[in-house]
Structures are given as C-alpha cells and as structure tokens.
C-alpha cells in the first residue's frame, strides 16, 4: 500500500468513519470509557503535575530575570507566568508530552492486538472493532484532558509561587497580585478547547497507526514512534490554527 499523504489521510478518515459510527451496545461502551479514563487519564496526573510545577517555577525565574528593570512593576512577573501557563504551556506543551506517553501507549496496545489477531477475532464476532477499541479512548481523553490542563494551570502557578517564597526572587505578595490581575476567563476556555482538540488528535492518530500496524513487533514499535511524531506535528499545526481563529 502506498504511503503518500493523501492515501494516509484517506485511510485515516475512513477509519474515523468506522470509529464514530453508532455503537452496538451502549452499556459496554460506558464501562470501557471509565476504564480508559482510569488508564489514560488518571495515570497521567503524576507526570502532568511534575512537569507543571517545574515549568511554573522555571518560567517565574526567567521572567524575573528578564524583567529586571526599575520601570517594570514586580507584579507583572506573576502576571506573565500565569499567562504563559494558561495560554500555551498547560494545553500545548502538556499535550505534546501526553502525545509521547498516551500516544505510544495506544499505538502499541492496538498494534499488538492487530498482529496477534485480537482485532480479527473481534471482527469475526461481528464487532465493529475500530469503534470498540478506539472510540472509548477518544471519548475518555477528550473528556479528561481538559481536567489535566486545569490541574496543570493550578500547579504551574503554584510552582511559581513556591519559587518566590524559597528564593525571594520576587516578593510572593507581588506575585499573587500579578497572578490575579487582568484575568481573562476566555483564555481558560481557549485552553480547554485546545486540550480537547489535542486529545482527539493524539488518540485518533495513535489509534490509526496501531490499527493498521502489520507484521511483527518491529512494526508495532515503528507504528508507535510514527504515532507520536505525527500527532505532535498535527498538534502544532492545530495550535496555530486554533490560536489564529480563537484569539485574533
């Protein structure tokens, strides 16, 4: 089979057609969605929290060093750190990291099911295997990633605060004032829209690469690498598009 872009995109959309067709039995999907929330969502809280606290801290230090001027009020550092987290870090950067974690997990799981004939076995039972395997993952991540984003925002801002307290690089009170100043709720909406979109991108693309893996474990490895690379690139493209559409 040819691997040019159009062919790939065509197969992707055909698969999505199968994935998004009407589920055969709702109750089963409900249970599977909960299980996927646990395995893809809850299991990612740790890594998101760790990255966010460090990034919040680093951003605050960098802002403090860059804005060192008597004409710039110190609270702007808190403001800038918050805006960086809200606008870009907690949605896009977190999504890129999750593309690595969740994307490779999905692609290798589904790819292994493909090469060990588990997908064929589902098809033989008369199950729409694409929908049965991929849809619960999509629903779970699209619903849950926004929570991870909000969590990341909170922890990131807190990380900045901790740095202020520990190093005194900025007065903690000024930081808090900055964090609260000129708050635009729409930025949160913007960020959540992005994170749901990115969740869909990661899960569907990784599911696609896993679903069409063939051959042996080498191919599954390749499929999961490709899934991460391609979903990261598509995330960056959509980040640009969504920012242009929603913010300007």
């Amino acid at each position: 089979m040819k691997n040019n872009l159009f062919d790939l995109a065509g197969r992707y959309f055909i698969l999505m057609g199968k994935v998004l067709s009407k589920p055969e039995k709702r109750s089963i999907y409900g249970r599977r969605i909960l299980a996927e929330i646990a395995s893809l969502g809850l299991n990612s809280i740790g890594i998101v929290a760790i990255i966010s606290v460090f990034m919040g801290a680093v951003i605050t230090i960098q802002m403090a060093l860059n804005l060192e001027s008597p004409f710039i009020p110190k609270y702007l550092i808190g403001y800038a750190a918050r805006e960086s987290m809200l606008l870009e870090f907690s949605s896009t950067v977190v999504a890129l990291i999750l593309a690595g974690k969740v994307g490779s997990n999905i692609a290798s799981e589904i790819g292994t099911m493909r090469i060990t004939e588990q997908i064929d076995a589902l098809e033989i039972m008369g199950v729409n295997s694409a929908s049965y395997l991929i849809l619960p993952k999509i629903v779970a991540t699209v619903l849950f990633f926004p929570f991870l984003t909000i969590l990341s925002m909170g922890i990131g801002v807190a990380g900045g605060y901790v740095v202020c307290v520990l190093t005194g690089i900025v007065n903690p009170e000024a930081y808090i004032v900055g964090v609260q100043s000129d708050f635009k709720p729409f930025y949160i909406t913007y960020s959540l829209i992005k994170s749901s979109t990115f969740a869909f991108i990661i899960t569907s693309i990784s599911g696609f690469y896993g679903y069409y893996a063939n051959g042996n474990s080498l191919e599954v490895g390749r499929a999961s690498t490709q899934a991460v690379v391609v979903s990261s690139i598509v995330i960056l493209i959509f980040n640009l598009i969504l920012t242009q559409v929603l913010l300007t």
């Binding site: 089963i28 799981e109 004939e117 588990q118 076995a121 033989i124 039972m125 008369g126 199950v127």
Partner: protein, 257 residues
C-alpha cells in the same frame, strides 16, 4: 453448508490459493490438511472474509458471502465462531471476560445466565478454576481451549478452527477433537478445521481436503486417506517413521482402534 467456488488469492502477485473449490457440509467435521505454508490459514481466513479473495465466490448456505454489504456481513458473523491459530484472546481481559464477551455484546441475558453459560463452555474444554487468570498467565494449550470456549459460547452455525490442537498434549488433543465433533453433530454446525495432525484426521476426518502448494490436491474421507495412491498425500500422511513402519507391516490397520 459452506461452498467455495474457484477461490484465488494472492499476496503481492504471489499466488497462495489457486482455484480452490469445495463444499463443506453441515453436521460433519470438514478437515483441511496440508504442510506448513501450504495455504490452510489463508484459505480459512478467506472463507470467513478476513482476506478479500481475488476471484471466485463463497456461499454460506445460499447467501453469497463474498458480495455481502457491511451490515449483512456483521449479521452473519454473529453466527460464526472462529478459533485462531494463536488463540487471539484479548490480553486486557481475563478468561471469564474473554469467553463472556460475545454474550455481553449480542445477548440480553442476565449476569447469572451468562456466568452459567461461560462455565458450561469452559467445562466442555476441561477448564475449571481459571476464570480470573489473564491470557499472559495461561499455558499455550490453555489459551487454545479458552479460545475454543469463546468460539462456541454463542452456539455458532459455522465454526472455523485453525489448528485446534497444535500445542496440546495427545490426550487433550483427543478431547478437543471429540468435543468439536460432538458439538458439530449435536447442534448441526458447519465445521471447518485446519490441521496437520494425522491423529485428528483419523479421529474425526469425515471429510478431508488436502491442500498442496495452494491447490486442492485430494479430497476424501479418513478411510480413503490410508489407501490412496496420490504421492504427495502419501508423503504427507506417512511422513513420520512410525507411520511408515506401520504401513510396512500392513497387518496393522491404522483406521481401526
């Protein structure tokens, strides 16, 4: 009844199945035999539609299987049970969930009814107290048996088994062979079994199809198979030293216990 007419299947220009026609009757055990790589698995997968055939036609009773739409295909597949060569159990589910899956998906039975049915099927393949084990915790033979239980849990009208007893010890093999024969007769199933095990052939080979290099080379019953003068089939049947010796002392009748 399943009927194959002039099936041709090739991969990247390499012909694997070359003009195979056969009729598999209901209520009898139909065996497909042949050397490793002769095309048995490809034939079985073509018959169930996992491989798209290049030309030819496949009929399930009077329905032309190769021309079915997506929806009709799904409907007919609910009447199909299949055992894959590697078992193909879902890794993320335990034994009970694996066997129960078709019931969960396609019946509205109560949890109690499902559990009973699952245990009944597991018992028929001689498995007990393994409900909560995961495929990674089972031996190869146990995986096969769980897979058989899953294939028969919905009382299929068509049953396909790819090497049901490879990897099983001789005693369990006989149990599985006879189980397949029993349910085939009991529920009047159309059963097609791939095997390269001569014991199975002599045990349950009511209708045997010998595939050689992708072609139908010979067709007959377990009784005919020992007296054929088809050279390739003879080479296959009497490949083992033991069988050769047994044939040499012709007073031993292999086809009678």
């Amino acid at each position: 009844m399943i009927r194959a007419e002039h099936i041709v299947k090739s991969f990247d220009g390499r012909v694997v199945l070359n003009d195979i026609s056969a009729t598999f009757r209901t209520g009898t055990t139909n065996l497909i035999i042949g050397q490793s790589g002769s095309g048995k698995t490809v034939l079985l997968k073509s018959l169930v539609g996992l491989h798209r055939i290049d030309s030819g036609a496949i009929y399930y009773d009077d329905i032309c299987f190769s021309q079915l739409g997506f929806r009709e295909l799904k409907a007919i597949r609910r009447e199909v049970g299949m055992l894959f060569q590697g078992g193909a159990l879902l890794d993320s589910s335990n034994v009970e969930e694996n066997v129960r899956l078709p019931l969960d998906l396609f019946t509205s039975q109560s949890a109690e009814e499902k559990r009973e049915r699952v245990h009944f099927c597991l018992k028929r393949v001689n498995l007990e107290n393994v409900d909560h084990l995961y495929p990674a915790e089972l031996s190869g033979g146990m995986i096969k048996r769980v897979a058989i239980a899953r294939a028969i849990v919905l009382n299929p009208k068509y049953l396909f088994c790819d090497e049901p007893n490879s990897g099983l010890d001789p005693m369990t093999s006989v149990v599985i062979d006879n189980l397949i024969k029993e349910i085939t007769e009991e529920y009047n199933i159309t059963t097609i079994i791939n095997t390269h095990d001569m014991n199975s052939v002599l045990e349950i080979g009511e209708h045997v199809l010998f595939i050689y290099k992708g072609q139908k080379w010979w067709e007959g019953t377990k009784h005919d198979i020992l007296h054929t003068d088809n050279r390739e089939l003879n080479d296959f049947v009497f490949a083992s030293t033991m069988a050769k010796r047994a044939k040499a002392c012709s007073q031993i009748h292999l086809d009678e216990p």
